[in-house]
């Protein structure tokens, strides 16, 4: 099934067909990475474009996102590893950001790579994130922003973490649709690293485990 066909099934609400396609692709970890990066991520971008261009409704966009979440969850669970004793990682959306599928994909792939992941979902309050970092000391923090108007929020979040934790601040990696524009946006927000997709992010942070 190519991407266009997958998107057609997504917006038609054919969850079972999408899941079948996902399971066929995600027979192993490499396949799961491919499913996430080559199918789920671009299909979400396509769905967003279809909404922007007036070809699908908000309801259909939500249905498609929920279906992709269902596919991802069902495909990653059989490949997930026990987190016990694994290195700690944080993944969160910044305040006001309500799109969580992207960072969820990252959390899944990290878990499959042996990380003990705390995934905080949408709109994580800065003060609580700082407190959690101080308490649980992750080896890195992944922050996601889907909407470009949330880039300021990403910058404020990173500045608050650095101000509170100083030299104890773990590396901060950013990603999400908001960073797809200008190439240096990740530097403008004060991050240490940027990854264009979940699979690239797993590779980027691999060295931190040693």
């Amino acid at each position: 099934m190519d991407l266009d066909e997958y998107v057609d099934h997504l917006i038609a609400g054919d969850g079972a067909v999408c899941l079948q396609e996902g399971k066929e692709r995600a027979a192993d970890l490499e396949g799961l990475h491919s499913l996430y990066v080559d199918v789920i991520q671009p299909s979400q971008y396509r769905v967003g474009e279809l909404w922007e261009s007036g070809r699908i409704s908000v309801a259909t966009e939500h249905l498609a996102t929920a279906t992709n979440t269902y596919v991802a969850t069902n495909c990653y669970v059989p490949l997930a590893r026990s987190a016990a004793g694994g290195p700690k990682a944080f993944v969160a959306c910044t305040p006001e950001e309500l799109h969580e599928l992207g960072p969820r994909l990252l959390a899944d792939l990290l878990e499959c790579d042996g990380w003990d992941v705390d995934f905080f979902g949408t709109s994580m309050p800065v003060r609580d994130l700082v407190g959690a970092i101080r308490e649980r000391q992750p080896l890195f923090v992944g922050l996601s922003a889907a909407l470009v108007m949330h880039l300021g929020s990403v910058k404020r979040t990173i500045a608050a973490i650095r101000e509170a934790l100083g030299g104890a601040t773990p590396p901060i990696i950013v990603g999400g649709n908001a960073f797809r524009g200008d190439g240096d946006l990740w530097e403008q927000v004060g991050a240490d690293m940027y990854a264009a997709d979940a699979s690239a992010a797993v590779e980027l942070v691999c060295g931190l485990k040693q």
Partner: protein, 133 residues
């Protein structure tokens, strides 16, 4: 006492700026037509749209760039075409100007006024450039 930053000012005056800009836009013909097309009240529509714009302005001023405005304009022009919405650059400029006037009325020192004037000029140019003439 610490000097007020642009970010402090926009955070602390967020609701007042929105209410002020919304009052200035009340009765706008284009806004009324879009509201009717989207089956929203004019008040709900202007609240949503102005909120979106103010968030973008704050993001840009935090970043110290026009990156948010630039990407938002690309998106907005595509959105306008896709949804066949009846607004043009004059309408978008008016919304931006109403918000900008509300923001500028609250700036309390020359450094902030200069910072916003510079941003306002650059962002206005991006709005005009974004729309096919």
């Amino acid at each position: 006492m610490a000097e007020t930053t642009m970010d402090d000012l926009l955070r602390d005056n967020h609701d007042a700026i929105l209410v002020g800009a919304q009052a200035r836009l009340r009765g706008d013909d284009t806004m009324g037509r879009i509201a009717e097309q989207r089956a929203l009240s004019e008040s709900d529509l202007s609240s949503q749209v102005l909120g979106f714009w103010l968030q973008g302005i704050r993001s840009d001023l935090t970043l110290g760039s026009t990156a948010t405005m630039k990407q938002n304009m690309e998106w907005l022009v595509a959105f306008r075409a896709g949804h066949q919405l009846p607004f043009d650059d004059a309408m978008v400029l008016r919304m931006f100007d109403e918000l900008s006037d509300e923001i500028e009325a609250r700036l309390d020192n020359d450094a902030l006024r200069a910072e916003y004037a510079d941003y306002r000029a650059k962002a206005s140019a991006l709005i005009v450039e974004a729309f096919p003439q």
